[in-house]
Structure formats: C-alpha cells, structure tokens
C-alpha cells in the first residue's frame, strides 16, 4: 500500500517535471526542472528496491551532469523567442506513426496480452540487495564493467582532444549559420547572439581555463 502511494506521487511529480522541461522556454528553468525530475526518479528507484541505483542517480545525474550542463549553459546567451521548432510537413506524419506504435504497445499491455502479475515485495527485497548487485557486477557482468571503464577513459581523452583542437585553429565561420541567426534575431527583435559573442574566436583563448572564460563572461554580462 505504501509502495503504491509512493509510486503514484513521485510518478506524477516526475511526469509533470519532464513535461515542464520540454515545454518551458528558458533553459535555466528547464535545467532546474530536470533536477526535480532526477530527484523524483531517484525516489521511484528507492521504491523499486534499487537503493544503490538511486544513490548513483543522485550523485551522477543531479550532482555532476546537471551542474555540467549549467556551466555550459551559463556561457551562452539563449534565444528564447523561438524555443520550439516549428511544425513542418515531416513532423506531423512522424508524430502520427510514433503515436500509433506507442498506442499499440500500451494497448497490448493494458488488455492483458502481456502477462500482468503483482510484485512479491518480500522476494524482491531478498533478491535485490546491494550484495546481490555487487555479485552481478563483479561476476556475470565483469567484462562489460571493464569495457565501461575503457569507454570513460576514451570519452575523457576525446573531450580533451576536441578542446585542444578548438584552441589551435577554428575553421572560418560559415555564412549560412550567421545568416539564420541574424534572421531569427531580426524577426523577434532580441539582440542577436552573434554580435555579442563574435569576439570569441578572434581573441587568444586563455590556455589555463581552456575555454576563454574571461572573454566570454566579459562579453555576455553586459
């Protein structure tokens, strides 16, 4: 009984916060709402006897990744006038096809084509402890675990390589990109992003921070 109320409350919170992430126009609000989303997902994971995963979710997602996104977001002025993409001729059939597929899946679940049975709480609590987690992690899934460590190393090396290349030479700016930005700015009346940040590329980038944060913040705060 307690599990059910817990699941419904936090499920409602997470669905509402995910919807607001997608629909809010300002990126800062979206990032705060995605924080709420991850915290409620962690609560749901606790209700699913996955306490260790809830801990990892709080630490990795809410603690690290969202702060990373906030740092990346701080450096840029966002054009909030057109946050959503316009409805094109391609998107309506795409939405229809996806809606039909999801309806079929949902219908097969609800109408009982797929077997529905309740969760045995005692068996789940006995089978899903952290000890069992570690036995699976270092037993059956040892090789994927090692591969993931190599993957994280490679991701770190790739990020460093790309940022080094960014310091050395940046290819010349494409005309079409600036033109579309200028068009968007002129239509909505907000100051164009290009004019505020265009000095980024021409000034020497601070090698200590790697991203030239001094230049960027000086240009954007005004």
């Amino acid at each position: 009984m307690f599990h059910v109320i817990f699941m419904y409350i936090f499920g409602a919170i997470s669905v509402a916060s995910a919807l607001s992430v997608v629909l809010l126009s300002k990126v800062v609000y979206s990032i705060v709402m995605v924080l709420v989303f991850f915290i409620s997902i962690a609560a749901i994971l606790i209700g699913m006897y996955a306490e260790y995963l809830a801990l990892i979710t709080l630490m990795v997602y809410a603690g690290a990744i969202m702060v990373l996104y906030l740092f990346a977001m701080i450096m840029f002025r966002q054009d909030t006038s057109r946050a959503m993409r316009g409805i094109t001729s391609v998107s309506i059939p795409l939405i229809l096809v996806i809606a039909i597929i999801l309806t079929i899946i949902w219908g097969t679940m609800i109408t009982g084509v797929i077997r529905v049975d309740d969760i045995d709480n005692i068996a789940a609590a006995n089978a899903l402890t952290v000890a069992n987690f570690s036995e699976s992690l270092f037993g059956v899934l040892l090789i994927p675990f090692e591969i993931v460590s190599v993957l994280l190393l490679l991701a770190m090396m790739g990020a460093i390589l790309i940022s080094n290349r960014m310091e050395k030479k940046v290819p010349p700016r494409n005309k079409s990109g600036t033109k579309s930005g200028a068009k968007a700015g002129a239509k909505s009346g907000v100051p164009i992003m290009n004019q505020t940040v265009i000095d980024l590329r021409d000034k020497p980038i601070n090698t200590a921070t790697g991203l030239g944060s001094g230049n960027i913040s000086g240009k954007i705060v005004e």
Partner: protein
C-alpha cells in the same frame, strides 16, 4: 487496484520516454536536445530496473548502472561538441548544422 505490477513501471517509462522524444524532436537548442536525451536514458533505466523486479534478479540493476556510466560519457562528449559547434557557427541550435543539406 492498489497493487504494483511491473507493467505499471513499463507504462511509466513509456510516458517518460515519449516526453523525452518529443523534446528531442521539437526543441531547437542543442543543449535542450541533450537534456531530452538524458530524460530518455532515464526512462530506459527505469525500464531495466522494472525488469529486475520482474525476474527478481539484480542483473538488470547492474545493466542500468552501466547505462548511467555510458550516459555520463555521452554528456561529456555531447557538451564539448556543443561548445565546438557554438564556436564554429555562432548559434547554439541544430539548425545551424545545415552544410550537408
């Protein structure tokens, strides 16, 4: 009525995944597309943990943990690509990447 089944979690993660897919398709900003991808990955994690509830096996929780690690790597690479694209084009939207069109 008041009983939890695995399918309830499946439907929940289906809803979350659909919301993330909608955001991935319809937001213009690249950073919002990445955040929507994170939402979709979280839905997949909930699905894996629901599988562990169905089979009473911690194997699927470990799979979800590995997915979280892959998501962390994706976030790092995605953000550095985001900054690179922004310096290249001056606009943080995916509409700026149209030179192959």
């Amino acid at each position: 009525m008041l009983a939890l089944s695995v399918e309830l979690y499946f439907i929940f993660s289906l809803i979350i995944f659909s919301i993330g897919l909608f955001g991935f398709m319809f937001r213009r900003s690249l950073i919002m597309m990445f955040i929507s991808a994170e939402i979709m990955l979280m839905a997949v994690n909930v699905n894996f943990v629901a599988l562990s509830l169905r089979y009473y096996d911690a194997y699927w929780q470990v799979v979800a943990a590995l997915t979280i690690a892959v998501a962390a790597a994706e976030a790092a690479i995605g953000l550095i690509l985001f900054i690179y694209i922004f310096k290249l084009r001056g606009v943080p939207t995916s509409d700026a990447l149209n030179s192959l069109r």
